[in-house]
Amino acid sequence: MLIKTIFAGFGGQGVLSMGLNLAQAAMLEGKNVTFLPSYGVEVRGGTANCTVAVSDEEIASPVASAPEFVVAMNQPSLVRFQNQVQSGGILFFNSSLVNPQTPRGDIELVGVPAGDIAEKMDSPKSANMVMLGAFARKTNLVSVDTVAEVLNTILKKKAKLIAINRKALMAGYGLF
């Protein structure tokens, strides 16, 4: 089993931490994993993305030319990555910001109102966690509990932050 996921969005939407979180969780669950941040001169402000590969065996390349899953937090990311998704794969999008007109019928589209939900919990910054929760539920790539566990370790003692993020995570997880 080798599953690759691309998380993409604006800088500031926390796409890297989504990916890092997934990678950590997968590692805790004993999987082989690689996390590849997009970097480059163009990353002045602009968009950010990262690729996470999860597998039972050695991972050949951390790059995803045809990812199983893509998570698009904004419109430009959707446009850029929708055609890369592997046929049969899933394209998650932040329905609060993105309206998905894609010609492709061979992939599943999953809209998650991550922005709005986060707004409601008035912590707009945690839209990424809402999305990650939904992602975990839908893909079963890792258990949501492991993701939550990772949150604790990453955010160390910041109890308040942990609470918020966990709440967001579960909100997303509860969506389906």
């Binding site: 604006f10 800088g11 500031g12 602009g46 968009t47 904004n74 419109q75 430009p76 910001l97």
Partner: protein
């Protein structure tokens, strides 16, 4: 109103320095995202703009054109 400005909202990165320096408070933040994910500013057409071009002077993105009579 002695002057007005046109803001290219797709070029604006929402740094809001024009707002900071506009002597007439003739510019204000908007809420819409542009394609690059920035929140551009907007011109208050009902404001006092005198076409002093201070906003254009400070605008890092050269997003502003200024008109005066």
């Amino acid at each position: 109103m002695k002057g007005y400005i046109e803001i290219d909202q797709e070029v604006c990165k929402g740094c809001e320095m024009c707002i900071v320096f506009c002597p007439k408070k003739a510019i204000s933040a908007s809420s819409t995202l542009n394609a690059s994910g920035y929140i551009p500013v907007a011109f208050n057409h009902d404001g006092e703009c005198n076409g002093c071009a201070i906003c254009a002077t400070v605008c890092p993105e050269v997003a502003i054109e200024v008109y005066r009579d």
